[in-house]
Assembly symmetry: C2
DNA sequence: CAGTATCCCTCAAGATACTG
DNA sequence: CAGTATCTTGAGGGATACTG
């Protein structure tokens, strides 16, 4: 479970598959960029957040940049690599909403209601754009 | 980080966000259904695999069924809920391939080459099917 | 405010022996 | 072969005090 993982899924999980990284990334997509905001938002220990941020920066998922409000501190922003996690976060949210909530149960995708806009969803598809349903036909194509 | 998580992403990660579950699910999508095959394939300790399988069954992601070869044991198969993780696994694999491998480096999505068929890819899209690029416009829609 | 440094502790994970 | 039982370890994580 370490070193040169040959499986892309395993390698991805090695990079961002821990308990906090993807939640940090989700918040980053949501525009949260400050240490304190992340910490309050996620309710995690400062040292852990600090460590996770460093690792995400080392991994090239986040980058630090001067604070937009002119304060002496920095902000954490998604890199291109980090933005590439968008489908992952969307897919996770989608599965969570579809499979992990009771029919009437409220979840916190409030933005949809607030904005009146449907949130992004995912559909696996072939390279030529045909929609793909999970099942026997694709079962051996996951790598 | 426990109990009634209101965020779908957090709840999803609570269910399958540990170090092994998604790898087991990936193998399941790949047709691996036997305890011993999973154990050898993933190189994980028997007791951990046993525990993880039980939890995945409890979570409704996997179900046991009589072995197809008539042996006395059982097989672990994806439920509908588990099949719903297809986009998640695909998105993870896609990100891994695109961002975590050097240009010429080989990864183990051999199936594509073997079958000559392109593997599934993901594209986030709106409810009406328009393709969505990650960025400012969608940044507040992740929930 | 944005971190770092310490201390502590739980739990996930590994190894391995055992059972039907 | 398909697990279960037991033991041990180490890393991940939490609380909190501290610094620039």
């Amino acid at each position: 479970m370490t070193s040169p993982e040959p499986c892309p899924v395993a390698r991805a999980l090695d990079a961002i598959g821990d308990r906090w990284s993807l939640l940090i990334v989700r918040d980053a997509f949501d525009g949260v960029q400050r240490f304190g905001d992340l910490q309050r938002n996620l309710g995690m220990a400062r040292n852990i957040l600090s460590d996770r941020l460093r690792k995400l920066v080392d991994a090239g998922v986040l980058q630090t940049q001067p604070a937009s409000d002119g304060s002496a501190y920095q902000e954490y922003a998604l890199t291109a690599k980090g933005l590439g996690l968008f489908p992952v976060v969307v897919a996770l949210r989608q599965w969570g909403e579809d499979q992990l909530f009771a029919p009437g149960e409220a979840h916190s995708s409030l933005v949809e209601k607030a904005s009146g806009q449907p949130v992004a969803r995912m559909q696996p598809q072939t390279a030529d754009g045909r929609v793909l349903a999970p099942g026997a036909a694709v079962v051996r194509k996951l790598g």
